[in-house]
């Protein structure tokens, strides 16, 4: 990674008279193997390296990138940014400014025991074959004819320099797995998709315990096709397990607390928010609603210690006792709100601008065991996992359709139910929380936002969360 080129870009920007200039030398290298129905697809190696530059010039923000890394090309990239920033003035109704942040100089990395560079495609493929073998074996009397597995190892390295004296070097290795499993029985099908991911070296693979998970998921596929019954519908109690409380935290609290959405910057793409700038402090949930985002969680898929504007990462309390407490900010939104950035700015490749992103978003743990949460539920649903989900672009109207979900009767877990649908507003969901479990679970995701699209690694999670009297439907 060439720090000199990044410094050269920043100095050149300063020579052109910009207010602010930053350069990010960014490399993302990934190797991946694919196994489809037990057969090997081509392995994939992707190595992207280049320089991304941002300038603030006369109140306009411009981003420019190149992967042709000679000094002449870098001069051209910076010049293009400045030229286009100048041209933007004819439609610049509001000048963009950045919050003041201290300069940082650090080398940081995600903890790594077994170097990711030593993982080859043959290793990934060998693990996929084991996983696939488990999937085939665990189907019982139900066939799993379609099995699509992808396992990848990646390394993200960055050198970040800005015109305010910040100089950061980082290294984040990651392991990621995802799968689509299709079970067939008696002319019916059932499908499961899930994704697991962590930062770390090859040791992260063992932590994910994929064989155990696959064994469990194939068992659920079998039971869904042979035993599951229609769920009760109407207003009942629902307990969301970590996979579902996590996605709900991500979609209906994490996204709408992104300050760039709140001020309308993503309006034509990922949308806006039910929150307005003045809504910090508004009550959105019950006294039991506590949600946070923390990029510094060890091993997390969304791990980082400094964001891509050079600001030190920290935990953010998004909702406390039902009140909106803090938003996710980059330096631009922080300036607009009269605050300091809380380090939410991330870019996934050299040719993407940094934008406001979540790190790892979760419901905070409570003090209940699952038995205690079940105890006084007369009739309800325990939704452990989901398949179909979506939410409107203000993050107010969401839907989660259960994959593994159980009937609760008189405080006890009964059999599997098929296709329970929780379609609910955000205040409806977080306002009905009356208790939280003490055991946490986290799930990986690739969060989509920005234009061009940036798929960003995150964790989502939480404990079991009990919702009182929410409306449950069923997939027709």
């Amino acid at each position: 990674m060439d720090e000199d080129l990044a410094r050269f870009a920043v100095q050149y920007g300063r020579n052109l008279g910009v207010q602010y200039c930053e350069a990010r030398f960014h490399r993302t290298k990934e190797i991946a193997c694919i196994l489809k129905n037990g057969l090997v697809e081509p392995a994939v190696i992707d190595d992207a390296v280049g320089l991304g530059v941002r300038v603030l010039h006369q109140g306009a923000l411009a981003f420019s990138s190149t992967n042709v890394l000679g000094k002449a090309n870098i001069r051209e990239a910076v010049s293009e940014a400045v030229k286009r920033a100048r041209a933007a003035r004819s439609l610049l109704r509001k000048k963009i400014r950045f919050s003041k942040e201290p300069a940082a100089r650090r080398k940081w990395s995600a903890p790594e025991k077994r170097r990711i560079e030593n993982v080859g495609v043959e290793k990934l493929l060998a693990e996929l074959r084991e996983i696939d073998h488990v999937a085939v074996k665990s189907g019982g009397g139900v066939k799993i004819p379609n099995r699509f597995h992808v396992l990848s190892a990646s390394l993200e390295e960055k050198v970040y320099v800005n015109s305010e004296g910040t100089n950061l070097h980082s290294r984040v290795p990651r392991i990621q797995y995802y799968t689509y499993l299709t079970a067939v029985h008696g002319g019916q099908t059932a499908q499961r998709f899930f994704i697991k991911g962590e930062t770390g070296g090859w040791e992260a693979y063992a932590r994910m315990k994929l064989e155990e998970i696959i064994k469990h998921e194939t068992k659920i596929l079998r039971l869904l096709l042979t035993k599951a019954v229609k769920p009760p519908t109407g207003k009942i109690d629902v307990i969301l397990a970590p996979e579902v409380s996590g996605i709900a935290a991500h979609e209906s609290v994490g996204h709408p607390t992104e300050a760039d959405r709140i001020i309308g910057r993503e309006a034509a793409q990922a949308g806006e928010s039910y929150l307005k700038p003045e809504n910090v402090g508004m009550k959105i949930g019950s006294d039991q609603a506590y949600l946070s985002d923390d990029p510094t969680l060890p091993n997390s898929f969304g791990f980082y210690l400094f964001d891509d504007e050079g600001v030190a990462a920290r935990k953010r309390a998004l909702i406390q006792a039902g009140y909106i407490k803090e938003l996710l900010h980059n330096r631009s939104t922080a300036y607009d709100f009269g605050l300091r950035s809380n380090a939410s700015s991330r870019a996934v490749r050299f040719d993407r601008e940094p934008i406001v992103r979540m790190g790892n978003t979760f419901v905070e743990p409570g003090d209940h065991t699952l038995d205690e949460l079940l105890d006084d539920v007369e009739q309800g649903i325990y939704m452990k996992s989901f398949m179909e989900w979506n939410i409107d672009d203000k993050r107010l109207n969401q839907r989660y359709t259960g994959f593994e979900a159980y009937l609760i009767e008189k405080g006890e877990l009964k059999g599997l139910v098929k296709g329970p649908v929780l379609e609910i507003t955000t205040p409806g969901l977080w306002g009905s929380v009356d208790a939280r479990g003490k055991e946490m679970g986290f799930f990986a995701g690739t969060c989509g936002k920005g234009e061009p699209m940036q798929g960003c690694p995150v964790w989502m999670g939480g404990p079991d969360v009990r919702l009182r009297k929410v409306t449950i439907g069923v997939r027709q």
């Binding site: 190797i31 489809k36 129905n37 057969l39 090997v40 697809e41 081509p42 392995a43 994939v44 190696i45 992707d46 992207a48 923000l61 411009a62 981003f63 420019s64 990138s65 190149t66 992967n67 042709v68 990239a77 293009e80 940014a81 100048r86 041209a87 933007a88 004819s90 439609l91 610049l92 509001k94 080859g120 495609v121 699509f148 299709t182 099908t189 499908q191 910057r265 309006a267 034509a268 793409q269 949308g271 806006e272 040719d351 601008e353 979506n390 672009d393 203000k394 107010l396 109207n397 969401q398 839907r399 359709t401 379609e423 507003t425 409806g428 234009e451 061009p452 699209m453 439907g473 997939r475």
Partner: protein
């Protein structure tokens, strides 16, 4: 190195190392963007990439690599590393040799040099769209204007050697009016003469104004009119499900349906590259096969899947010129036009909904096509043949097989649709009238 030299260099290097099949595609892409929020430029961007994608095989082992470091030494090492990594893989039962030529490519026709030359002037187009929306009654406008210039050169061990050069300019305008009501307008073109930022701004502004103060819509079954944007989203999914790779993975409701009725007889959906106004008019696919026009669904019957040479081997057929090294994909989708104006469609509806945009389509079961999607921007209740009032907070919750079979009418006007990640494959779309579509809503919305 020039793109042709780069691809030829990779081909030569890989063959010298002992590779059996090689396809090397070098690319140069220049992407300019103006993003708008609150009627003001939020960021301008320019991304310049030189890229190289290489597929190679040895002993029926297969690997794909891409690199963004095009210097000779780096490319030499990249090919060598790829070849070595390939050697560590097991042989593939699905291996199919790369198609062999001779290949005849048509001349690239979707290129307009003025699109790239407009780099700094793109802001003027954005301003035209914003001003048009505001004039129609919008209170604020967001959007993105993207201009692309892409060059490709392919060299394969099958004898393919050719270049492609295309441009496109894409505008997405989202206008907001009172009560955060919104409307979207698009303009998508491969040549500047077909690009109309003002019309996109007017459409967005008018829809936003008409959508102000939306009311509640009860759950139930409604006749649904999709405008071209929602048709584009729906047909993007159908096009993806027609990929033989997706079918083989068990992730398509079109599995085992070749020759069967999968849609109403009035629907014909094709993958087309030859049309001069198409947006992604590829000349050759990633394996060097000349692209061509083909029906996916013809008069309601599933005519064929999209193939590369590997899926063609699995399905015992020929490549359709849609490779992806791993996964075949559609290039441009075209829905054949129908006979209805929008007014005529509305008159057909007693109790219905008109939706003008959607997002966040997700599947409970890809094999069965069970899905839901969330309408966004302007949506309206239709009663007794008239558009009555705006609504919000609804969700389309259906299965794709049922939806396709329930298409009742197709519009005669069509427009190209491609925006953000929601409609990734450019699609020439009319409006559709679909009978009896389940509509749900979240408890408490409204």
């Amino acid at each position: 190195m020039k793109l042709a030299e780069l691809s030829d260099f990779v081909l030569k290097s890989a063959l010298k190392l002992g590779a059996k099949d090689v396809s090397a595609i070098s690319t140069r892409s220049e992407h300019s963007m103006v993003r708008i929020a609150n009627s003001s430029v939020s960021v301008v961007k320019r991304m310049l990439n030189i890229g190289l994608v290489v597929y190679l095989t040895r002993d029926r082992k297969r690997i794909v690599g891409s690199t963004s470091n095009p210097t000779p030494n780096a490319v030499r090492k990249f090919v060598s590393d790829l070849f070595k990594a390939c050697g560590t893989l097991p042989s593939s039962r699905q291996y199919a040799p790369l198609p062999r030529g001779p290949f005849n490519y048509r001349s690239p026709s979707q290129y307009d040099s003025r699109i790239t030359e407009h780099g700094e002037k793109l802001v003027d187009f954005a301003k035209e769209a914003v001003d048009a929306s505001l004039k129609e009654g919008a209170t604020r406008v967001a959007g993105a204007l993207n201009a692309h210039d892409e060059q490709f050169f392919i060299s394969t061990s099958g004898g393919a050697r050719g270049s492609d050069h295309r441009t496109r300019i894409l505008l997405n305008v989202r206008a907001f009016a009172d009560s955060d009501a919104s409307g979207q307008g698009l303009s998508c073109a491969s040549r500047l003469d077909d690009f109309d930022p003002k019309e996109a701004g007017v459409t967005a502004g008018m829809l936003a104004k008409d959508a102000a103060n939306p009311g509640v819509c009860e759950e139930g079954r409604y006749d649904l009119i999709m405008n071209s944007t929602v048709t584009g989203s729906t047909m993007n999914n159908v096009g993806s499900f027609a990929s033989a790779f997706i079918v083989d993975a068990g992730l398509s409701f079109l599995a085992n349906k070749l020759g069967s009725k999968v849609a109403a007889e009035i629907l014909t959906l094709s993958d087309v590259t030859s049309s001069e106004d198409s947006i992604e008019g590829r000349v050759f696919d990633d394996e060097g096969v000349a692209t061509g026009d083909k029906e996916i669904i013809g008069r309601g019957t599933l005519v064929g899947y999209l193939h590369n040479s590997t899926t063609a081997k699995i399905f015992k057929t020929k490549s359709t010129g849609n490779a992806g090294f791993i996964e075949p994909t559609p290039w441009n989708l075209i829905v054949e036009q129908g006979e209805y104006t929008l007014d005529e469609m509305v008159k057909e509806v007693k109790r219905g909904i008109y939706v003008t945009n959607n997002w966040y389509t997700r599947f409970q079961n890809y094999r069965e096509g069970e899905y839901s999607t969330v309408p966004r921007d302007a949506a309206f209740i239709i009663e007794n043949g008239e558009i009555k009032r705006p609504i919000a907070g609804i969700r389309i919750s259906d299965t794709l097989p049922r939806l396709l079979l329930n298409i009742h009418a197709i519009g005669k006007e069509r427009s190209w649709v491609k925006w953000w990640d929601e409609v990734a494959t450019p699609t020439l779309c009319p409006a559709l009238l679909i009978k009896d579509v389940p509509i749900s809503r979240a408890a408490g919305v409204g």
